[in-house]
């Protein structure tokens, strides 16, 4: 962490998560900075999703500290001590899920309005002003609608705003989930494999959406991803996990050439067993190319 000069947004210190005898995350420390995309990569079962669940409050870690610092106010939150819903409500951390979790029976627009629940709840005077239809609430609702409209436009779902969310094609559902997370107006957006199941064109769109969020909304992003083309193109900083431990941490280029990382992905002295396409992938990424 000492190599970073700008203050951290999220600081993970000595995080350990045990399930019975299984150590899913073992003494992991790293920092994610504001206005940067931090990618967490690693083979399957490396503990990436567990790490995410600790950060977003679904698990409480066995050991360790998770500090979130709001860049504008300098306010600090200890995430490991907060109940799940407060992490979004107070600490402004939003997330998406590996298996998309939309409110599939509700419309696309409603999904985005529910994301603004806390703001609207206050404006509706915990429903009393809302029931009476007071102007304060109506204004808040209009603003919420504007924000939703903005993000619908960003992810290209304006046309389908009144569709049932569950009826959207897969790629749209992924983007809607990101839009929904953004509607909570987070300072840190955590994405759990956002490119999973997308075709190359959609992955490309996703990459530009994420860089747009970083550059225009000036927030930090934390990303779990398997799609190396996405990771290598857009990440500012890559953390590599293997068997619950951190084995590398640094700029994408440095990480890619790290012998420990190559070993974790390819196994030791087993290069000849590697399927041809994986080997080609590695070669391609070494050559600094990106997939179309």
């Amino acid at each position: 962490m000492s190599q970073h000069t700008s203050p951290h947004l999220l600081n993970v210190e000595r995080l350990t998560m045990r399930f019975g005898g299984l150590v899913a995350v073992n003494d992991v420390s790293f920092a994610a900075r504001d206005r940067e995309i931090t990618a967490v990569i690693g083979p399957n079962g490396a503990g990436k999703t567990t790490l995410f669940n600790c950060i977003t409050g679904f698990y409480s870690p066995t050991v360790g500290r998770l500090t979130l610092r709001h860049p504008n106010t300098g306010k600090e939150f200890l995430l490991e001590r907060m109940p799940g819903y407060r992490i979004s409500q107070a600490a402004s951390v939003a997330r998406t899920f590996q298996n998309i979790r939309l409110f599939s029976g509700m419309s696309v627009l409603e999904n985005l309005i529910v994301a603004q629940h806390n703001k609207l709840m206050r404006a509706s005077g915990f429903s009393i002003a809302g029931l009476l239809g007071l102007p304060g609430f109506r204004r808040a609702e209009r603003e919420a609608l504007d924000l939703a409209r903005y993000w619908l436009d960003r992810v290209g779902l304006t046309e389908r705003a009144d569709w049932q969310a569950g009826a959207l094609p897969y790629g749209d559902q992924r983007r809607l989930e990101i839009a929904r997370a953004m509607c909570t107006e987070p300072v840190l957006l955590c994405l759990d494999e956002p490119a999973a199941g997308l075709n190359p064109r959609e992955s490309g769109d996703l990459a530009s959406l994420l860089t747009f969020i970083r550059d225009e909304h000036k927030i930090g992003l934390l990303l779990i991803e398997h799609d190396m083309s996405v990771v290598m193109t857009i990440s500012d900083h890559v953390v590599v996990l293997d068997y619950g431990r951190k084995i590398a941490d640094g700029a994408p280029l440095a990480v890619r050439n790290d012998p420990a990382v190559i070993r974790a992905y390819l196994g030791e002295d087993e290069d000849e067993d590697l399927p041809a396409e994986v080997a080609a992938d590695i070669e391609a990424s070494k050559a600094g190319e990106t997939a179309p």
């Binding site: 977003t56 409050g57 679904f58 799940g84 819903y85 407060r86 992490i87 979004s88 409500q89 939003a94 997330r95 899920f97 979790r101 939309l102 409110f103 599939s104 029976g105 509700m106 419309s107 627009l109 409603e110 309005i113 529910v114 994301a115 603004q116 629940h117 806390n118 609207l120 709840m121 509706s124 915990f126 429903s127 809302g130 029931l131 609608l145 409209r149 619908l152 304006t158 389908r160 705003a161 009144d162 569709w163 049932q164 969310a165 569950g166 009826a167 929904r180 997370a181 909570t184």
Partner: protein, 491 residues
């Protein structure tokens, strides 16, 4: 399933059809031999058995031929099945049979199979098989009803308001109206918890009981008026909802259902056993009737210094006045619940309920405090249950634990489920079916619960979200556009 429309390829697979029907008949025999074939009857000499094997045979034959009929319909022979089934029904109607039950089985069974065959012919004669043609008939129907609610609702309310002045209104029909409206109110109340928030509450009657006993005890012991007690009873019911909800709302859906069931039973056991406070199994009697908003009483000869309703309006005294007043009271209470629900669906609270029903983990990730939101649903529904309970107490004039059994909870749940979870009109339709029909067919009383149970299973199999379940978005970006079409698309 590819054989659905093969009229032109009548190749029958008799062995498989017979095997299937034979197996079903065997199962029917296993089920009916002990329970239908032998009936335990009390005789002075002790318990003895009556034997009715003709009914067992009839049931097994019906299952055999019914199953065979379905199998043949599936194999593309609906016309033949239709003729045979109709023939059987007519035969059953004309030929004298040894018992009435047999006749009913033959006629009823024949008609059901004939209907199924006719449906197949009708559907099969259309160019597109309905199975893959987008939303099913019932989905479209439910959507139509939901949209028709815009005018159907006000028309229904107008009818309800005008009802006591219509020529069909007499003491009996208004009484039935009151009963129906009470269940409509309870159904709408429970709909908040089950339909919107997706929490299966099997102990709703507990809050109904809390409301009823609150009013009964306050009125009998302290002489408080109905109008003072009504809000208080609602508050007490809401409070008991919070008290129960706080520890158990964290539980998963099915555990939650069992715990609420247990809570309902606990309340009933306490009501039965706490003699000093609740009067035990005898309940509370002599509960005062409501006054006309505290201004006038519905009595012929009011006490000194009071004024009676008929004097106030210069009418002839009529005991019907009180009943009509009660009718309007419950109508208003029910409409309050309805208005609240329609309104809250468009508020963050209501949307959070529906979001919780859809995915509670996603809700947490968006900063929605699950416990508080569920607690709100629980408390509000409990409050409405409490209002209904107070009304029940003042209408009956007495309350006893017998009115608050699990069956009562099950009936209210059946109303919500049959009508379509989350559908306000569905609740009304289901109430008329579930409460209204048995009122008119008193002699079928003992089959009522049987039909309930069967109805709940059948509706779940046919339409797991309920008969008229259909959800319109609470907010539209393109109000005029093809929103309706898109909303139906997902089913």
């Amino acid at each position: 399933m590819t054989a659905t429309n093969t009229f032109d390829r009548p190749k029958l697979d008799w062995p498989s059809a017979l095997r299937e029907s034979g197996f079903a008949a065997l199962a029917a025999l296993m089920l009916t031999i002990p329970m239908v074939g032998f009936r335990t009857v009390d005789r002075p000499t002790g318990l003895e058995l009556d034997m009715r094997f003709e009914e067992v045979a009839a049931a097994a034959l019906l299952v055999f031929f019914g199953r065979l009929g379905f199998a043949l319909i599936r194999q593309g022979q609906p016309a033949a099945v239709l003729v045979l089934a109709l023939g059987a029904a007519v035969l059953g109607f004309v030929v004298p049979l040894p018992t009435k039950v047999l006749q009913i089985i033959l006629v009823g069974g024949g008609l059901v199979i004939a209907l199924r065959a006719a449906w197949q012919i009708w559907r099969g004669s259309r160019p597109v098989p309905a199975a893959d043609a987008g939303p099913s008939f019932m989905d479209r129907f439910a959507a139509e009803v939901q949209r028709a609610g815009k005018w159907l609702g006000p028309v229904g309310v107008l009818f309800a308001v005008a009802f006591p002045f219509l020529p069909i209104a007499d003491r009996q029909t208004i009484d039935i109206g009151i009963l129906l409206l009470t269940y409509v109110m309870l159904g709408w109340g429970l709909n908040i918890v089950v339909g919107l928030a997706g929490l299966l509450d099997l102990g709703y009657v507990a809050f109904y009981a809390v409301g009823a006993y609150s009013y009964a005890l306050l009125a009998v012991n302290f002489g408080w008026s109905f109008w003072a007690c009504l809000p208080l009873a609602g508050l007490l019911a809401a409070f008991s909802g919070v008290l129960l909800g706080f520890p158990v709302l964290r539980l998963r859906g099915d555990y939650f259902a069992i715990v609420t069931l247990g809570f309902g039973e606990i309340i009933r056991v306490i009501l039965i056993n706490w003699y000093q406070f609740t009067g035990g199994p005898n309940g509370v009697i002599g509960i005062p009737r409501p006054s006309f908003f505290g201004l006038a009483e519905f009595t012929r000869n009011p006490a000194e210094g009071d004024i009676a309703f008929h004097q106030m309006f210069g009418l002839e005294f009529d005991t019907l006045h009180r009943i009509v007043f009660l009718y309007y009271l419950i109508l208003i209470l029910a409409l309050v619940v309805n208005f609240f629900t329609l309104r809250v669906r468009k508020l963050p609270l209501g949307r959070a309920w529906e979001a919780l029903r859809e995915d509670d983990i996603a809700c947490t990730s968006l900063g929605v405090n699950r416990t508080n939101i569920k607690l709100a649903a629980f408390a509000i529904a409990a409050m409405f249950g409490g209002f209904a309970g107070s009304f029940f107490a003042t209408r009956q004039g007495f309350v006893s634990p017998e009115s608050f059994t699990f069956i009562e909870s099950a009936i209210i749940l059946a109303i919500v489920v049959l009508g379509g979870m989350g559908s306000q009109i569905g609740v009304v339709v289901a109430t008329i079916l579930v409460i209204g029909l048995p009122e008119f067919f008193r002699e079928l009383e003992q089959y009522r619960m049987l039909a309930f149970g069967l109805g709940m299973v059948a509706i779940m199999l046919w339409r797991p979200r309920g008969l008229l379940a259909h959800r319109e978005p609470t907010i539209l970006l393109h109000p005029s556009g093809g929103a309706a079409k898109a909303a139906v698309k997902g089913g």
